[in-house]
Symmetry: C2
Subunit: 181 residues, 2 copies
């Protein structure tokens, strides 16, 4: 399926094709005036509006979606956070378990949270208890403690601030070069 | 500040100390029965409940918060998505710009989105146009197209499913070994 966003006017292969919004595999954004004229005409004939996809086409995610990829990364992040929480708890009241977990972390990467927990479970019966605690903490943390609304706000703010900073730095740099030249 | 979650009963250093919820630098969860008894007694005396922090303590984030770290990672992810969107648009109607961007990507890592865009801006005037488009797309995508509610649901689901799978696999593995032994 071809999509247009900042692209020249382009007619869709089939005007009333279905969109798979839920899975996020195919996304498009029809902005062409021709499409709007066609849509208006179709509405006049049929009495209802056809379903419309207002999203930009994101290629390369196959059966998954960008949200699924981001969720998978967040899952690994929650495992990392859970390990930090459990370590902080153990440090004060169970230094032996703390040392054991620290030693295990020094030998095993935390990049893949599930692999880490799987290996921790199979290390020894004591490690197994720690792994079960990490699993429970990551679930509780993601559902209760993590501030999802705050994440959204911070991401919007960061993107806006970074965009402004990048453009300002470039303008300052080039105007400085022009003044020197 | 010491915190307890699954930890033995522990009295806080000061019962009515303030909590920095907004910044997320210090988080704790008082579960001790002693605390609840003290809280009940204090409520009976003062007529109101003291402010209570229901979060687990996450160390190691300094002035930032886990949400800020996750938002920074998402920002890089949005830059990666924006590059994919722009490439898909260019491929069909501007093959020359597509090749130029692809060549630039082969030489520059996309891990740090801001660094990538900063370098792209300074490559040439044509590349500068592409960089500005990427900045605009990542902002539009994060605000309009990215399904934040879906991200949350998927993350919950993935954590739950992974926890179940890890425990089931371990139980199956050990019961198999026990049966053999």
């Amino acid at each position: 399926m071809e999509c247009c966003y900042w692209a020249p006017s382009r007619l869709p292969p089939a005007f009333s094709h279905s969109f798979s919004r839920g899975s996020g595999t195919e996304r498009c954004y029809w902005t062409s005036p021709t499409i709007w004229r066609l849509r208006k005409r179709q509405r006049a004939y049929t009495g209802y509006d056809v379903p419309r996809c207002q999203k930009m086409f994101v290629p390369g995610f196959g059966e998954a979606s960008p949200e699924a990829k981001a969720a998978r990364n967040l899952q690994n992040f929650f495992t990392y956070i859970a390990v930090k929480i459990v370590l902080a708890q153990l440090e004060s009241y169970n230094p032996e378990a703390y040392s054991e977990l620290m030693e295990f972390i020094s030998r095993n990467s935390l990049n893949d949270g599930d692999k880490f927990c799987g290996r921790l479970m199979r290390e020894s019966s004591r490690h197994q208890g720690l792994a079960l605690r990490i699993l429970e903490v990551r679930s509780a943390y993601s559902k209760r403690d993590f501030e999802w609304e705050n994440l959204k706000k911070l991401a919007f703010k960061m993107v806006d601030e970074s965009n402004t900073r990048l453009m300002r730095d470039y303008v300052l740099e080039t105007s400085h070069m022009e003044n020197e030249g």
